[in-house]
Amino acid sequence: MDALEKLEILTDAAKYDVSCASSGSSRGGKAAAERGASMGSAMKSGICHSFSGDGRCISLLKILASNCCIYDCKYCVNRRSNDVPRTTFTAREIAELTVNFYKRNYIEGLFLSSGVVKNPDYTMELICEAVRLLREEYGFAGYIHAKTVPGADPLLIKKLGLMADRISVNIEMPSEESLKTFAPDKSRNSILKPMGQISSGIKENRHELALYKSAPKFAPAGHSTQMIIGASPETDLRIIRLTEGLYNKYKLKRVYFSAYIPVGNHPALPNTKPPLMREHRLYQADWLLRFYGFRADEILTEENPNFNELLDPKCTWAINHPELFPVEVNRADYNMLLRVPGVGVRSAKRIVSARRYGRLDFANLKKMGVVLKRARYFLVCGGKYFDGITVDQKNIERNMLADAAMSPQNAKKNSAQLSMFDEQLALPLNPPKIEVVKSITGEF
């Protein structure tokens, strides 16, 4: 099998894993070079190098070390019982590809996962060896995200964590029952145990680093996980509660959701289009959990355990809490501003700093990036609604639905990937990452 064919198979087999983020590590290239690396750096916010035809960001060389697998997870293309061509990279092949792509600025680094070849330890050793070659032999200081294999020796996880920027274990299914049904070879424990190990490894390491600056770093970009949604019957409420629990308990950097794409063969698996809108709503809710100070039980309730397809979770929440609105822009505290639909992290910060220098009106808000189309129902400036509109609480929902209906493609086109985009926009103003150079334009 030639190199092209191999790469095609092992890319195709890896592409359903959603995470492609290269964020979370910050490593100056010159500093790395002083410690012996030959190339590479990492930017805190990550970099997208390309976008594939599905609109997803390509940041890392996302491949499997092997698509051979001894397990038979029903939702997975690589399951043992599936009849597909199989192949395995050598550690050297993985390292060569990564370095050569990196040098040409095609990628930020490597995202390496694998089917379970022979047994979990054997597979983990292959992954470790590829990462070791890159770090030690090629002096590669770019970003590496590696997946650990459920059931592998904790020592191998430790070894991997000391070389990679991020290591992660997929939670796969939103509940233990579904895991039993669809991934009979994996147990909840075989997933949560390594996740716990990584989480406490990171915590201890942060402590060590605080004491000794030169202590080796363990997964400096933290860990993440992903679950497949739409393959199993859990409600959205159940999924975001699990998500919240994972953030709290394991201090994950990200929880990714992957709309199930029908590649499986179990009678209980749906054979429908991937639920992209649902995935998008979950990411929005995830956003509310991480950056907007919401709790899962505020976003959805037992009576309404699923998202509204037409309205985003923040609007839905605001509509259901008329007692808290309208909010006075010139007085409301930061946390309350954040809860107003149409106000993002950045505009909330701008409002708080700008109003110290004078009263704000709607024209100011607009310039600061507040989306008045949504915010106008919930905000007042100096006691007045936007454009003198009278807001009747009962009508807000109807109006907002009408607005949403006027731009149906809006909702669609923005699905899923928008969450990556939001992330960039929601970050605080970029600090001067690159030291301002003395302008040399005068030397022409």
């Binding site: 190199a3 092209l4 790469l7 095609e8 890319t11 195709d12 890896a14 592409k15 359903y16 290239g29 070079a33 030959s38 190339m39 590479g40 750096s41 970099i47 997208c48 390309s50 976008f51 594939s52 035809g53 599905d54 609109g55 997803r56 390509i58 940041s59 996302k62 491949i63 050569n100 040098k103 040409r104 600025n105 095609y106 709309a259 794409i261 991937p274 992209l276 700093s353 700008a354 109003r355 220098y357 600061m368 086109k413 923005n414 699905s415 899923a416 990937q417 960039q424 970029n430 001067p432 690159i434 301002v436 150079v437 003395k438 302008s439 040399i440 334009t441 005068g442 030397e443 022409f444």
Partner: protein
Amino acid sequence: MEFFTDDNRNGIIYTYDGTFDGFLCCVFTAYNTKRFPSKIARYGTFTPSIFDRVSDVRTDKVEAERVYEGIRKNISGKALYYAYLAFMTEREGMEDDIFEFLRLGFKYGGRVLNMMNNDAVLSVVKLKEKAYREADKLFGFLRFEELEGGIYYAELEPDNNILELLAKHFEDRFPNRRFIMCDKGRGISAVYDAGELTLLRGIPENLPPRSENEEEYRRLWKCFYDAVEIKERRNPKLQRSMMPKKYWKYIIEKSL
């Protein structure tokens, strides 16, 4: 809100050579002569009326340096970075906003960055974001090709004048390497060799041919790019909004 209590603009127009140093010299002249301009524009971009008084400001490295350090010390490094990046958008009229931003900065210090309801400040912040947004895209979209002799070569045509900023990023990432980056639109190049980064006017000719492996890796990359797409989620519109078509010319997986 009123920030203009001590305004001593007097209808004079400064023209300069279009460089950042040249602009800093306008700031120098304004403070040195205590005559604030009513407009700053690069030579030749604007036709004065017979009522305008125009003063050509000469670019002087030492003066520029003093203003550069003055901004860093008396306002903040961050404000300097904002002014620099906003300048690089080359948007018409940006000089006046940056001048006003710096004037407020010299008066109020680093706090100026919070004065978001001042139009000039907000404009500088937004221009800076515009330039940075493009740089952020090009950190990723820029492609190097490997030439014989281990030189890496990249071409680009950015809307903003961000070649220098981009080159700094790659200098940090590949400190041991030689590379050339060309802004084809502006006809300027950044050359990094032996640890030194230099900006030059012009585009290099007679480059060495591509290295032996170059075609092979391009093919592999294209293969990866095609395989990684999930066909069930095809969404070309989203793709184009994240990676605008104007950049495709230099993105090899889109132009092969």
